[in-house]
Symmetry: C2
């Protein structure tokens, strides 16, 4: 599980011994096609899942057929560490693109945490950062204009993808249709389309197919009231 070393070391130094512990974790690898479930709602996972490639989403399906995506996950993200403590999944995790995922047994995670309380804290941290992102989403949904909401998400995705080497110079690939963006933003499909046009019109963003390009990050961040603090992409002792 070397992906975990990379991902956890985004936020704190990992020493050789710790890296060896993570590298030695046993896991099972799985390929998923777009639309497949990585983790099912109401299941009681005994392993937790790390995204290796592709984009995945946490989704809640309501009785009336509506869907809300509550988080987007990119390579390196631990997608259901919660289940380790919550035991029962209150939502499902699905692949928005073809994906590769690694499943690590909970008992192995437990062993790592016993041997290294520091790694335990870093795992904890990754769930806490998820929470911080969710707070930003709540704020966007409640109090930001549609363009600011969308722009905020683009800033967030860019920094997260850049941190794992999947974005640079303002550009990244994001092969997720407007349909799914709508469920992440809480918009209708039509409104996503129109808001995106507004964003293009500002000259801050270009988005063609799956090629996203931020033409003026500072400008986009300003108009979206985006402050990257919450992502905690800073290496410091934790």
């Amino acid at each position: 599980m070397h992906a975990l070393v990379t991902s956890l070391s985004l936020r704190d130094e990992i020493d050789l011994e710790e890296a060896a512990l993570l590298d030695g974790l046993s896991f099972r690898r799985r390929q998923l096609r777009k639309g497949e479930e990585l983790v099912a709602q109401h299941s009681r996972p005994t392993e937790s899942c790390v995204v290796l490639s592709g984009v995945t989403a946490r989704e809640v399906l309501l009785d009336d057929g509506k869907r809300q995506i509550t988080a987007l996950h990119i390579p390196g993200d631990f997608v259901d560490l919660h289940a380790f403590l919550l035991k029962v999944m209150d939502h499902s995790v699905v692949a928005l693109t073809d994906c590769e995922a690694a499943y690590v047994p909970h008992r192995d995670l437990l062993r790592v945490m016993e041997r290294s309380p520091h790694l335990g804290r870093l795992l904890w941290l990754s769930t806490v950062v998820d929470g911080a992102i969710q707070r930003a989403w709540i704020t966007s949904a409640g109090r930001r204009s549609a363009t600011a909401h969308f722009g905020h998400l683009i800033c967030e995705l860019y920094l997260r993808l850049e941190a794992v080497g999947l974005a640079s110079e303002g550009r990244f690939e994001f092969p997720v249709p407007q349909n799914e963006l709508a469920d992440a933003l809480g918009f209708s499909l039509v409104h996503v389309n129109r808001t995106l046009q507004d964003l293009r019109a500002t000259g801050l963003v270009s988005w063609k197919g799956s090629a996203v390009s931020i033409l003026d990050f500072d400008g986009l961040a300003r108009m979206s009231q985006f402050d990257p603090t919450y992502l905690n992409l800073i290496r410091m002792p934790r």
Copy 2:
């Protein structure tokens, strides 16, 4: 810190030795008047804060003066355990009513976690449950009608308050003005008022001043698509 024993034992058995560890935690007690800050944005706390009485809120202030409340906290809740890992607060925590709070030094928490990995997991769990609640809020904001959104919040508050003995028989005290509810729900003040009138008209809820009464919990839960699973108010080995 006996409040912690009560609160952590909502979700798992706590044995005598663990209870003694928690009871022995040193802390400083503080009284707060309505409107005062428990934890300031951008601060780097060296202690984490447990609510002993009153209602508190996590709030984000935007540049344009708008405010979003991203979480409500009630007695027993650990309000900024995150800061233990995030280091820098990306939001503030304020008292919505007069409050009492206990501040526990991080180094003492660390010691407890070293002596009892199980308690460490339960502390972790409390942040993970916060995350689950935030996901429910995102879903409400994005995909539920105004009445369902509000109703969902009422169900959530009731179960959380009931779990700590502050609600029973469908009734609880919630001395939080519509103004603040608006910032929690992402509504305008006027819309809170009108949505509350709609809720009253359904006959499911009565809300007079600070006296909230759920007249038909199942009915309210049904119309709000409320499923209590996410609150994890079940005692099981974690």
